[in-house]
């Protein structure tokens, strides 16, 4: 893998740090007029998701990380692994619980998911920003109660629990923002 110097650090560049693949979020050049130059870098650890700031002396370099984001189709889970397929090559990948993490609750079969591959194996997954999922469990709907702002918890087909308006009932399909877990509206029929 190539190595990158601080002046090549750009948002999105994948580098190795302390044995983990990381993504550069932001790189700020800091230099006193008469002094040492530094790069104050925001990094995201792609394994743990932790975002933090480290300062380098300008000119220091880091190994690149063999990390690729690939859009795949989610196939199924066998209980231990979650299986994904690259649509153009039909190549299949299996991700473990660490890789799917919290995002498991947004995984619907046949949805397009971005799988982050590290040295060829799934490291993390990113669901689409918006998903449409069916309500499988919630308190009975209150017909006509569309004006009031009240909400109730609803369990969706993937297991995610989101707050939905009171008038919705089991069997309806809702749009949810996976980044915030917020209900966006009823899915277009």
């Amino acid at each position: 893998m190539a190595s990158y110097s601080t002046n090549e650090f750009k948002s999105g560049l994948k580098v190795m740090l302390d044995g983990d693949p990381c993504s550069i979020v932001e790189n700020e050049f800091v230099k006193p007029g008469k002094g040492q130059a530094f790069n104050r870098v925001r990094l995201k650890n792609l394994r743990s998701g932790r975002v933090w700031e480290r300062t380098f002396k300008s000119g220091e370099s880091l190994e690149g990380a063999d990390v690729m984001d690939v859009e795949m189709e989610y196939l199924y889970s066998d209980g231990e692994f979650w299986h994904f397929m690259q649509p153009d090559t039909f190549e299949q990948y299996q991700a473990d619980a660490n890789a799917v993490g919290e995002n498991v609750k947004w995984l619907k079969e046949q949805d397009k998911i971005v799988v982050t591959l590290y040295n060829g194996s799934p490291l993390a997954i990113t669901p689409p920003n918006h998903v449409e999922l069916e309500i499988v469990e919630t308190d009975p709907g209150l017909k006509g109660d569309t004006a009031q702002g009240g909400t109730k918890p609803a369990t969706l087909s993937t297991g995610a629990v989101v707050k939905v308006p009171l008038f919705l009932s089991i069997g309806e399909v809702v749009r949810v923002d996976t980044r915030t877990g917020e209900y966006l509206g009823r899915a277009a029929k």
Binding site: N7, F29, P32, K34, E53, K57
Partner: protein, 308 residues
């Protein structure tokens, strides 16, 4: 774009107006010189002119001091300077610099002069609250150590406790620069003069003994957390100056940077006699960022480097 051009033109005009009122002459000095500075942290852009190595000047300082030694009296330069490898929200490899020298002034008198210029440039409705602190005062307040007496190990330990850094065995000045830029600068929101630097940060300033420890008669101006200007009560001793250049080149070597031939014509002018004077360099684009309330240098330049 029209608005930016109008605002820049107005600031440039007001700067010249101020110095005209003060009886300071504008001088033009070469941008392409045969020598460059030995400063270990500056990298000049080199150029070939008629098969001879030249450098785009990182500041007009040496040429201006040669003029001072020739008896020019008070002078200012308003024009371009160039620094390689400097690019970011506060840096552009080519930038506009204002540098001036006042004979018979010390650092205190020159700070008053800088303050008067700021008042001349600030819009009427802005009431500038100019503050003064010594380097030791602000450093102790925000870092918790006296920068003059703290050891390298103490500075490194506190840096590693407060920041995520993994470099080691650095000279004292590097730890001071790190801690000051990361922990102190953001607190300097009003126009603030920082005075009396540590001896290891003297560069081209006189060093005087105040009792407890020697201090460098150097000052910097910060505004809105941005370093705007750097001034010295100038070192006029040719022998001391040569020693500092030689030390710079040793440090460059240790850092893996090419040594720079000492500018003998500059040393000659010091030997001939630089009048007692104080001088300051001010980043005009950064000053405009503060005046126009912008947070990126590219927003105040018609042609920032990413848009050439």
């Amino acid at each position: 774009m029209y608005q930016l051009i109008e605002k820049r033109a107005s600031v440039l005009h007001r700067i010249r107006e101020y110095f005209d009122q003060q009886g300071v002459f504008e001088v033009e000095v070469p941008l392409l010189g045969r020598s460059s500075v030995t400063d270990p942290h500056l990298s000049a852009i080199s150029a070939q002119v008629q098969q001879q190595a030249h450098y785009l000047q990182t500041s007009p300082e040496f040429f201006m001091k040669r003029l001072l030694a020739e008896g020019s009296g008070d002078i200012y330069y308003l024009g371009k300077a160039f620094r390689n490898d400097e690019s970011g929200k506060l840096h552009n490899p080519e930038f506009t610099m204002l540098e001036w020298y006042r004979t018979e002034f010390n650092d205190e008198a020159l700070m008053d002069d800088v303050g008067a210029l700021l008042h001349h440039l600030a819009p009427l409705q802005v009431d500038l609250q100019i503050e003064h602190f010594s380097y030791a005062e602000v450093f102790e307040k925000h870092v918790g150590l006296n920068p003059h007496t703290a050891t390298v190990d103490e500075l490194a330990a506190i840096a590693k406790q407060k920041l995520d850094v993994h470099f080691d065995s650095e000279p004292k000045a590097t730890w001071l620069d790190l801690l000051f830029s990361h922990l102190v600068e953001k607190h300097l929101q009003n126009p603030t003069f920082i005075t009396d630097y540590t001896e290891c940060q003297a560069a081209l300033a006189k060093v005087v003994n105040t009792g407890a420890y020697p201090v460098a008669k150097r000052f910097e101006l910060f505004w809105k957390g941005v370093e705007l200007a750097n001034g010295y009560w100038e070192l006029t001793d040719a022998k001391l100056q040569r020693e500092r250049f030689v030390a710079d080149n040793k440090m460059r070597e240790a850092m893996g940077r090419p040594p720079i031939d000492i500018d003998e014509k500059f040393i000659e002018s010091l030997e001939k006699g630089l009048p007692d004077c104080a001088g300051v360099a001010l980043g005009v684009d950064r000053l405009m960022m503060c005046l126009f309330d912008e947070n990126d240098i590219s927003h105040v330049m018609p042609f920032p480097s990413k848009n050439l």
